[in-house]
Every structure is written in C-alpha cells, then in structure tokens.
Amino acid sequence: MFEQVMFWLFGAGAVVTAGMVVAPPFNRNPVHAALALIASFFCMAGLYMLLLAHLLAVLQILVYAGAIMVLFLFVIMLLNLGDHELGKQSSSVGQMIGLVAMAFVTSKLVVTLATSADSLPHGADPAAPEALVRDGFGTVATVGDAMFRHYLVPFELTAILLLIAVIGAVVLAKRNL
C-alpha cells in the first residue's frame, strides 16, 4: 500500500516537473526550467529508492541535483539569454517533428508496458517481488564489488572519458580566457 502511494506520488511528480522543464507554464525562463529539473531528479531518486537501489538514489541527489545542476545554472548565467535572443514561441517544423517523435515513443512505451507482465524471471512470484532481489542488492558494498571485480576495464575507461571532458572544456573556453 505504502509502496503504491509513494510510486504514484513520485511518478506523477517526476512527469509533471519534467513537463515544466520542456514547456514552462508561465514564462520561458531557463532558470525556472533548470530548477524544475531538480524537482524531477528528486522524484526520480524516490523511485530508485522504491526499487531498492539506495546508492543510485543518493547519488542521483548528490551528482544530478548537485553537480550537474550547478553546471546548467552556470551555463545559463554564462549565456544569459533574454527574451530577445530566445525569440518568439511559434509553431514550426521542429515542433511538428517533436510531436511525431513523442507519439512514437509513447506508443512504444505503452506496448512495452502492456507486454511486460510476462517478463519476470522464470519461476518468480509477482506477489513477492522481494524474492527477486538478492541480499545486499543496491548497497554500496555490492555495487563496489561488482564494479571492481567484473567491470574494471569500463571503470578505467570512465577515467579517460572524464579526462577528455576536462580537456574539451578547457579548449572550448580557452578563447575567452
């Protein structure tokens, strides 16, 4: 019962706030959109928590609501686009393409959800979903064990990816330094 209530609360919250990011109801202020995105991230963290992925939920708050939002806000401050630069809101080819894409994704999603009832692992009891989850699932110790014993190469590649990100940022910004 509690789980259902929380799921609908977080799920609805995530969808509504995400809608406020792409289509702000009152004005086209990019700062408002960015802050709505934080609210959306929070609801996502709640959903992760319900899925027993503790670490992911806490990292969602720490990294997304913290670091990535700061980056977004600083980029907004850097560009500081006013209504003048954003231009008038009008229907265009781009919006039509967006609508078609959204309809496509929605239909895909509905089909996937409608057929997902029989995608539980073989022999699993849908009434007792906890039985599907091994002890320690989603905890920092389990994640660490998997990461360093089984996914060591992707882990090291991540370091190189982050290095490229730093160098790319410096090269892009260097013109202005």
Partner: protein, 369 residues
C-alpha cells in the same frame, strides 16, 4: 555477498550492541510507527536546533568580544544569554519586505530550500548507541547530499532578488561551495576506507559478549563503532585528512577566512541582502545549523562520535562537537579574509591534490594496520 552486509542487519547490530544500555535503538523502534517517530524526531531536533542557534550566536558574540577585549552582549539576561532570543522575537514581528521586480517563486522559496535540507541532515546522526531518529546505511553520503542542496537555495535567493550584490554573492558562494565540497568528501573518504570492514571486525573483544560484525564505512553509526573496536580515534591516523576537512568545512559554511560570498565591505550581505524578518532569520538559522552539521560529521569521522570513557555517549558527542564549533568561531575572529583567486588556488592547487595523495596513503596504511 554475505547476508550480513544486508543493510537491514544494521539495526539488528546496533540492537545487539544496545542491549546493555537497555535503550531502544531508534525512535522508529520506540513507537514502531515511522510517521509518529518522525514527528517526535522533528520536534526534538527543531527544539535542539533552535537552542543551538540561540546559543551559538551568543557564543560567537561573546568569543569575538573576548578576543577583541570588549564586553559583548550584557544587558538581556545573565551574561547577555537571552540577547539572541530577544533578537529572534524582534525578527518575528518585523515587516516582510518583498522588493519590486523580484522573481517571486524563486525569491519566496529560497529560504525554505536553504533551511529544510540542513534540518534533515541533523536527523541522520547517531548521538549514542540507541539514540538516533533513524540509521541509514548511506548516512554519510546522504548528509553530504543534503548539505550540498543549500547551494541551490543560495542561487535561487541571489537570482530571484533582482539585486546586484545578491547575485554576485550567490555566484561566488556557489563556486566556492562546490569547489570545497571535493576536498571535504575526499578527506572523509580516507576515514571511510579505514572504517569499512566488509569482512567483519570483533566488537567488545575479550568480553563474554564479543561478536564479529561487518562494518560499512558509509554508515555514521558504523564509523563510530569502527573507532570503538580499533581503540583509537581516526584523527590519530588521519591528521592530514582532519586538517583538510576542517579547512574545507570552514569554506562550506562561508565563514572567515572564506567569507567572500558575504564580504560586508564589498557585497553588503551577499545573497540575502534583500531578505528581512523571518525570511532572513531562516538563512541565519541554516547557516549556524550548517556549522553544527559539519562539526558533527567531523566528530563522527575523526573524533570517535559518542566514544569516550566515564561520561555517557551523548555528552562526549556534544563535548567534541562544541569544541570544534569553538574552533570555528576562534578562526573567524583571528584570520583575515582571503581573495577569491587565493581561495580557488588553495582548493584546487593544494587541498585537492593533497587529499588525493592522503587517500592513497590511507590505502597503504590499511594494509599495515
């Protein structure tokens, strides 16, 4: 993965530990109803935090007066103790001024966004075995995550205020806070590494009730237990991490010598220039509570939390916390303010590299210990 690493075993472990104390483990166990426990927890924590803020502001004024050979507040109550209470009552009855052309939703929500996360962060701490609102396996990370949320509120206040001083102060504050979060978390990591024992350690060795339990370095209770089990506080084996943590904590709380975001002589009051009445009081409350939070984290990580001889656990916990808070006040009234470029160079050029080296050193140390 062993069943013992299951986070549900954490309450069981503490339950086992708290049997001699005959205290219920958490408020949640006490009333068996999470909402009732939360209500009680919030009540107790808000009362404590209000007292703490009233006391800390008084202490700050008295210590600064003592350092500068002045008297400080003397009029209201014995030794001026009730001065802050009088100030607070005054603030409640003040007019709330909303300047023209503010970004209303952001301006009005900002005090809430700064205030709420720090209070939640306080609720995660174990003050003694059996004395905690809740005990989560990722407590340390969650405290950092919630403490980091304040910067969103600071940005909202600065951007929403439609004031040059406020926006400049907010931008400096956010840049400073995010920069110093890195050495702060990196220095805590060295302790997490030493405190964490997934293979298990023996608690209360040599007694009939000795038992082996795995310890998780991200749980605040487990970090304290690790120091109890090993018989020393982590400040002894990680003095460098402690110094880095303390410096970064000063910057995180925007205190001198890192009070550039609200440097009075250039930015008036920084991001809360345009706030009055209780809205201003809320920023003030959050600032002093944040000081308490970083000191409590330092107490758990480096000074053994509730661990100590003779005196009961909570007494030790708060003795250590308030000693650190005194240190923070002392530093503020002793050091002059840094320039912004010095601030950034200190963080990225010194603290971060040293913290990384210290972490590798801790990994080597873990093999020796």
């Amino acid at each position: 993965m062993s069943a013992a690493l299951h986070p549900a075993s954490a309450p069981a472990l503490a339950q086992a530990l708290s049997t001699p104390h005959s205290l219920p483990h958490t408020a949640a166990d006490l009333v068996a109803q999470p909402w009732l426990a939360s209500l009680l927890g919030v009540g107790a924590i808000m009362a404590f935090l209000t007292l703490n803020v009233l006391f800390l502001i008084w202490a700050e004024r008295k210590v600064s007066a003592w350092i500068q050979r002045r008297m400080g507040p003397t009029e209201v109550g014995p030794y001026g103790l009730f001065q802050t209470l009088a100030d607070m009552l005054k603030l409640i009855s003040k007019q709330l001024i909303t300047p023209s052309h503010v970004d209303r939703p952001l301006y009005l929500l900002a005090p809430l966004v700064v205030f709420a996360p720090v209070v939640v962060a306080v609720s995660l701490f174990p003050f003694a075995p059996g004395l905690a609102v809740t005990d989560v396996d990722l407590g340390l990370l969650l405290v950092f995550a919630f403490a980091g949320l304040g910067i969103i509120g600071i940005f909202m206040a600065g951007w929403g205020s439609n004031n040059k001083y406020a926006l400049l102060g907010a931008m400096r504050s956010v840049a400073q806070n995010v920069s110093y979060e890195i050495p702060l978390i990196l220095s805590a990591l060295a302790v997490v590494l030493l405190a964490s024992h997934p293979e298990g350690v023996t608690l209360e060795a040599g007694t009939p009730s000795a038992h082996t339990v795995p310890l998780l370095g991200t749980s605040l209770a487990h970090i304290t237990l690790a120091q109890e089990a090993q018989g020393y506080w982590f400040v002894l084996v990680q003095p460098v991490a402690f110094v880095i943590y303390f410096v970064a904590a000063l910057a995180e709380t925007n205190r001198a010598p890192f009070d550039i975001p609200e440097a009075e002589s250039e930015l008036v009051a920084g991001f809360h220039t345009e706030y009055s009445g209780m809205r201003f009081a809320m920023f003030f409350f959050a600032e002093y509570t944040n000081m308490l939070v970083v000191s409590m984290v330092a107490t758990v990580l480096f000074l053994g939390g509730w661990d100590g001889p003779l005196l009961p656990g909570p007494v030790w916990f708060f003795l250590k916390t308030y000693t650190l808070l005194f240190g923070m006040i002392w530093v503020r009234w002793t050091w002059p303010r840094l320039r912004f470029d010095q601030l950034m160079r200190l963080c990225w050029g010194l603290l971060v590299p040293v913290a990384i080296l210290n972490l590798l050193g801790a990994a080597v140390l873990a093999e020796v210990l």
